[in-house]
């Protein structure tokens, strides 16, 4: 049969079945079970109205329970059993086996890097793009171009960036942009500025930003006279964790800034970018940053527009320059949105699978948790360890889940 026709028939059956359920179930309720006529009309209407919400909700509850609720419990159970032993209960054996694998720790390390770098850079770029495009006449056109990668599949984006990172032998014409650029460097003044000074400045700037965040958090934690509450009980440990993470990032970026200056760079040789250990992670991250920046920009630009103009006008009257207005007036006011954007991108990063799968498949030390899990489940058929790593992902998501539910409940009150 023609694939188009075959597809059409399957589509009609699938969608028709779904719409049919709602139509006929309501018909049965109103016409057969509790018809709103006869001597029990009033009682029947009430009865029907008791049942109807569940009729409306049943498919949703069923699908949610089956496709998201049940798997959480079942995966937890599978992670405690051994498939080869006929599903016997083995306690935490899968977890300890997983912890003894270097590939798992590599995936954890890379995932942590992804979790720090991608949301940070995507949010920063998004904020920058939102601020810049807000003021200019063709801002909306610019925005839709920066937003466009959202529509591109991770696999498509992987192909796009593979072309950028493409490598060919030294005596051939390079067709990958990155190598074509790289070969233009020869160790002269230009190379020094672009390859050593610029990255070092960016790294130092990042370190300074982290130091500023630590400063903000520490001053917020110090008691400021009577009557000022310091927030709820969990805010102090949360802030401490963020401070420690920020301190670690300062250390990392300072170390990298030094190594940028001391490293000997292989000028004139085409590089196979995706096989350089450690740094290849960043080349993969670039793909996701490219995709997610547009998302951050759209949300942040809306919240920038929501800032009351009086505050900005007042700042201008007081003689603030544009940078002060941005960092001291605008950013603090949209802090809440920045946090939400950051968390949303963090969620995307935790589930990231396609990019690594399509570009390196975890070779050359680029493994991430989601791909590690896929490897265990479908290549090694080790359901125990695979489920255990899925549970690790779930644990990483847990704080965000709790926070979401907490916020939603607060809003509903």
């Amino acid at each position: 049969m023609n694939p188009a026709l075959q597809g059409l028939i399957t589509i009609i059956i699938g969608v028709g079945g779904c719409i049919g359920y709602f139509y006929f179930s309501n018909q049965i309720l109103d016409k057969v079970l509790f018809p709103p006529q006869g001597k029990d009309a009033g009682r029947n209407i009430n009865r029907a109205n008791m049942i109807r919400p569940w009729l409306f909700l049943f498919p949703a509850i069923f699908a949610l329970g089956l496709y998201l609720g049940y798997p959480v419990i079942e995966t937890l159970r599978l992670s405690l059993t051994d498939r080869s032993a006929g599903g016997a209960f083995v306690g935490l054996a899968n977890y300890s086996q997983m912890a003894s694998e270097p590939k798992f720790w590599e995936a954890m390390r890379n995932n942590m890097l992804w979790l720090i770098v991608v949301p940070a850079i995507a949010t920063a770029f998004g904020l920058l793009a939102a601020q810049l495009t807000d003021r200019i006449s063709w801002g909306n056109v610019a925005k839709s171009f920066i937003f466009m990668p959202m529509a591109i599949s991770f696999v498509g984006a992987a192909v796009i960036f593979k072309l950028i990172y493409d490598t060919r032998a030294a005596n051939q014409e390079q067709i990958g942009v990155l190598n074509a650029l790289w070969l233009a460097f020869d160790g002269g003044a230009g190379s020094f500025i672009v390859l050593r000074l610029l990255p070092a400045v960016i790294l130092l700037g990042f370190a300074a930003l982290m130091a500023y965040i630590i400063y903000l958090l520490v001053t917020a934690m110090l008691p400021k006279g009577a009557g000022r509450s310091t927030g709820t009980w969990w805010s102090v440990p949360l802030r401490l964790i963020i401070v420690l993470a920020a301190a670690w990032m300062i250390w990392l970026s300072l170390k990298s800034a030094v190594s940028v200056f001391t490293a000997t760079l292989p000028y004139g040789e085409p590089q196979t970018w995706l096989t350089i250990p450690f740094y290849n992670n960043f080349f993969l991250m670039a793909v996701l940053i490219w995709i997610q920046t547009g998302f951050a920009m759209v949300i942040l630009s809306a919240s920038l527009r929501g800032i009351p103009e009086e505050t900005i006008e007042a700042a201008i009257l007081d003689g603030a320059n544009p940078f002060q207005i941005f960092f001291k007036i605008k950013v603090p006011q949209i802090m809440g949105t920045i946090v939400v954007v950051w968390t949303t991108i963090t969620l995307v990063v935790l589930k990231i699978f396609d990019i690594v799968f399509a570009m390196t498949n975890g070779q050359w030390e680029t493994q991430v948790l989601a791909n590690y899990m896929y490897d265990k489940l479908f290549r090694a058929s080790d359901w125990g360890v695979g489920s255990a790593s899925a549970i690790v992902i779930m644990l990483l998501v847990m704080p965000i889940l709790v926070w979401n539910v907490y916020n939603a409940r607060k809003e509903m009150r």
Binding site: C18, I61, I136, G139, I146, I160, F161, L163, A358, A370
Partner: protein, 382 residues
């Protein structure tokens, strides 16, 4: 706010320039793929895509005709013909007779090769090889040429990938498979979620708050958790790997966001309309289909776009729940991953395949961007 006091014109210029740079940086990668998909394999390997508008230059080693094609003319032995042996619009910019010096002669020059004869090569590839004694041997002379080809764009790649039924790497089947996955996987969750969102927004029943909290919590559950238990379940109940399974999976995974978005929207609808309708004797089913659904169109549209993009671009769910050993139901993303594995260097194939898979979501994106942005702002993020 551009006219506000204190905004310096120098800064405005800096803003314009940085936005141009940013947009260029973000467009550049996609543009590369787009341009590459219209070039021939030769052109792609001989120059970067950014040089596609310039004439391409490459070196090649060609041969003159074999000695058995020689003719005797005016007491001399002559072989002549065209080095390209076929129609081409390539031109020769320089040539040589030895590997060590491939640019020794300009077109029209004559190279004296001693007892091997005298060779003249023209710009269009025509050559004359003349010798006073008979040519011997079985093969012709080697000629090293530097060829200039004018910029050229072709639809051949798309023809090969879409219209050639004998091409097993073609995208046609995968394209229809993807459509078959995407259309129901977009419509079914909308229908289910719309009813559920209405119930959660406007109907009174015990446990409503708990259900809403559960939906919010499930928003962030990673779908990786669902793979093994559900695959086992599908195999156990006989759905196996197939369209039904992948529709159900996409429905389940898409529902939390759908219910959340739609409920947030429906709660904001004016209460009076619904109460008036109830007073007039409309049932909930009628209110829902005749009033709420038409009013909720913006929210429905924005979720539809999300779900469409997500299912169209999905790889993981399709690999786990759909694609079986026969490969009959493969979707485009998986097809591309396979091409990346087997045809990693053939950029004309890869670029075309990727662009075929990108073009539909891009069209949807640019046509319906308004709704997408509205959806992002209304529900998924506050």
């Amino acid at each position: 706010m551009s006219s506000i006091a204190g905004t310096k014109s120098g800064l405005t210029w800096a803003v314009h320039i940085s936005v141009v740079l940013l947009v260029a940086l973000w467009l550049f990668p996609t543009l590369g793929l787009f341009v590459s998909s219209f070039r021939t394999a030769d052109q792609i390997t001989s120059s970067g895509w950014w040089a596609a508008m310039l004439p391409a230059e490459r070196n090649e080693s060609l041969r003159t005709g074999a000695p058995d094609s020689q003719v005797q003319q005016d007491g001399q032995w002559l072989i002549q013909g065209n080095l390209f042996e076929g129609a081409t619009d390539a031109t020769i910019s320089s040539w040589g007779t030895s590997m060590r010096d491939i640019g020794a002669y300009a077109p029209g020059d004559t190279a004296d090769m001693g007892e091997d004869g005298r060779l003249t090569v023209q710009e269009n590839g025509d050559y004359r090889l003349v010798n006073s004694q008979e040519f011997s041997g079985r093969r012709g002379e080697r000629v090293f040429v530097t060829i200039q080809t004018p910029p050229e764009f072709t639809l051949q790649n798309y023809k090969n990938m879409l219209l050639d039924p004998s091409n097993r790497e073609g995208m046609t089947k995968a394209f229809f498979n993807t459509l078959t996955v995407v259309i129901p996987a977009t419509i079914i969750p909308i229908v289910i979620a719309a009813f559920a969102a209405y119930a959660l927004a406007w109907m009174r029943f015990p446990g409503r708050a708990l259900l809403i909290a559960a939906v919010v919590g499930l928003l962030v559950v990673p779908l990786q958790l669902a793979l093994i238990p559900l695959l086992k379940l599908h195999l156990a109940v006989g759905i196996g790997k197939g369209y039904l399974g992948v529709w159900l999976a996409h429905t389940g995974f898409g529902l939390p966001l759908a219910i959340y978005l739609l409920r947030n929207y429906m709660v904001g609808l004016p209460r009076d309309i619904i109460e008036n309708a109830k007073v007039d004797g409309a049932t909930d089913f009628q209110i829902f289909t005749k009033i709420i659904l038409p009013l909720s169109f913006p929210a429905l549209a924005s979720f539809a776009i999300f779900q469409f993009l997500w299912t169209w671009n999905d790889l993981l769910v399709a690999m786990v729940f759909l694609i079986d050993a026969t490969g009959e139901t493969t979707v485009m993303t998986k097809q591309i991953v396979e091409l990346l594995g087997t045809r990693g260097g053939n950029w004309e194939i890869l670029a075309t395949a990727a662009f075929i898979s990108i073009v539909v979501p891009l069209a949807v994106f640019f046509a319906l961007q308004r709704y997408l942005v509205r959806g992002l702002l209304a529900g998924s993020v506050k």
